[in-house]
């Protein structure tokens, strides 16, 4: 039984811990607050040695600077595989969009890259995860341990060899040089294997007895059952691809296929740093992905947990 004294102490600890948590939450939110308010501050506020907590006036100049600084065609669509047939190994462009501020192109590139990586990862990982969990094929244990070992290795150390490989495939400096290695990273297979383990074997057996083909069993029975896993993996891959700065930096050197992260980092390297401009760029990069995260965060936390707890 608790004495009154102990109960009071417990209560006090609880109150204090909530207060500390709230303070910490404010500290963690502060950089984001600073980005968003900074993006709308006039330069008087930005260069004021005394910090201006709330913009004295909300202005769009930083965004105007960002959009007027560089321009680029909104899209450039290449004929698939054409880089293998042209003399310069540059792809043939068959459609070019209207010339608009480069920031829009960066966003389109980033969205395309993240969505493509997400779709390819989900399809390949769902299939492979199902096979690893439910198919007793020979060599399964070896394949699975290879996948687990690869996951523990630092992804970045293979970037330089990847660069050479991409150059050999004439894909260096295209978005595919970022997309394909992202799909190859085995975390997705591992995650989908964890989710597929929970499919009851009897259902699969029954489908087989009924003469359902392997592919039909997969698409009509397996997929609906691992849907939460696919959701988690989709959002996870999308955010990782969006934010994988190192890979983008190494694979996309010329700037014509720049992503939003790369675009902002080049703004930073200009000689005179304009903090307002940088904050506008940071807001443009961060806000879309944060919105995506907030909408799908339920799947996301589920996915991270699944990868670890059952691992």
């Amino acid at each position: 039984m608790l004495t009154a004294n102990e109960a009071a102490r417990k209560k006090a600890y609880k109150v204090i811990s909530v207060i500390v948590l709230v303070i910490l939450a404010f500290l963690f939110l502060f950089p984001l607050y600073w980005i968003i308010t900074g993006a709308f501050k006039p330069s008087v506020d930005i260069y004021n040695p005394k910090p201006v907590w709330w913009p004295t006036e909300w202005v769009k100049t930083n965004f105007n600077d960002l959009f007027n600084k560089r321009t680029a065609p909104l899209w450039e669509l290449a004929v698939p595989f054409s880089q293998f047939f042209t003399d310069s190994h540059k792809p043939l462009i068959w459609s070019t969009g209207p010339v608009l501020p480069a920031a829009f192109r960066w966003l389109i590139n980033t969205v395309f890259m993240s969505v493509a990586a997400m779709l390819l990862t989900c399809v390949t990982a769902a299939m492979a995860g199902y096979a690893l969990a439910k198919k007793r094929f020979r060599g399964r244990a070896i394949v699975f341990s290879l996948i687990v070992c690869a996951m523990a290795l630092p992804k970045q150390v293979i970037l330089i060899p990847l660069l050479k490989e991409m150059a050999g495939l004439h894909m260096y400096d295209t978005l595919w040089a970022v997309i394909l290695p992202t799909v190859g990273w085995p975390f997705g297979v591992f995650l989908m294997k964890q989710f597929s383990e929970s499919i009851p074997g009897e259902i699969l057996e029954a489908a087989r007895v009924d003469g359902s083909s392997e592919f039909r069993t997969f698409s009509t029975i397996v997929i609906p059952m691992v849907k939460p896993g696919i959701g988690a993996l989709a959002i996870f891959t999308f955010i990782n691809a969006w934010n994988d700065y190192f890979m983008q930096l190494v694979m996309l050197p010329s700037g014509s296929n720049s992503t939003i992260s790369l675009g902002i980092s080049t703004l930073q390297n200009d000689t005179t740093v304009n903090m307002g401009l940088l904050m506008a760029g940071a807001a443009l990069a961060a806000v879309p992905i944060i919105i995506v995260f907030l909408i799908f965060q339920k799947y996301f936390t589920q996915g991270i947990t699944m990868g670890a707890v059952k691992g």
């Binding site: 330089i160 490989e165 934010n243 903090m275 961060a286 992905i289």
Partner: protein
Amino acid sequence: MSRALQRREDVAGYLFMLPSLIFFVGFVIIPMFICIFTSLTASNMNDTTMFGQFVGLKNFAKLFEDKVFQKGLVNTFIIVIVSVPTVCAFSLWVGSAIYKLNNVALSAFRCIFYLPVVTGSVAVTVVWRWMYDNYTGILNTALKGAGLIEQNINWLGDPKTALGCIIVILFTTSVGQPIVLYVSALGNVDTTLIEAAEVDGATDMQVFWQVKWPQMMPTTLYILVITTINSFQCFALIQLLTQGGPNHSTDTVMYYIYYTAFKLTEQAGHFGYANAMGVVLAIFIGIMSAIQFRLAKEK
């Protein structure tokens, strides 16, 4: 299992594995072997062939004399040794403080601590760069206002503080995932055991360390491994904020690999040497993970 059935399983298994294996072998396994092999060659950016001239272990021998690499190794270890325990302890405390809150508060806190990860390293870095700024940064003003410092500190420009600044940012972008994991691990702890311990008169502290903590060991191990790997790979922050400076005080192995491969003027594109460093880094991470597994098993 009959042979026909086994063959059917083999065929189906490999067909389902095939798309994923193409990507995995093509863009993970093959580069890994190229990495190991080129670490033994003088390969560079302008080579027309995949591999340069074979030089044996010369690249590795050179590493032992490379002062910058050694400094980078020391800094990398400082980052790992400081950030891994603090990240784990912090996320364990936050996790245990929030997991019993109501659902709304729980997801709000979980989201907030995860936000720096989602925001992305570039956006996070540019705003911290401004907050650390010598003249217009908020950190100097706040600390002066609180009476903690008298003079503005050039946080990123001073070799004494620069590495610490990097570690602080790394910390904020590292705790998100461990907190999510600890919250769910704490939620999964067997409640009958906790009740039994409470009936026997165990204090909260005893319940935590003797009932909950052992059950969370797999989660803790996973968190240790991923945090270690992340800390070893700390790159974006350094490339964007200090580029290894001032005076190599924030050089890490990962940044030096990038620098050797793409930036170093007299030997730019020295891929063989950079890959040798990559191999060494991978070995270090492997050893650290193995040690953590061993320690966790003993407990």
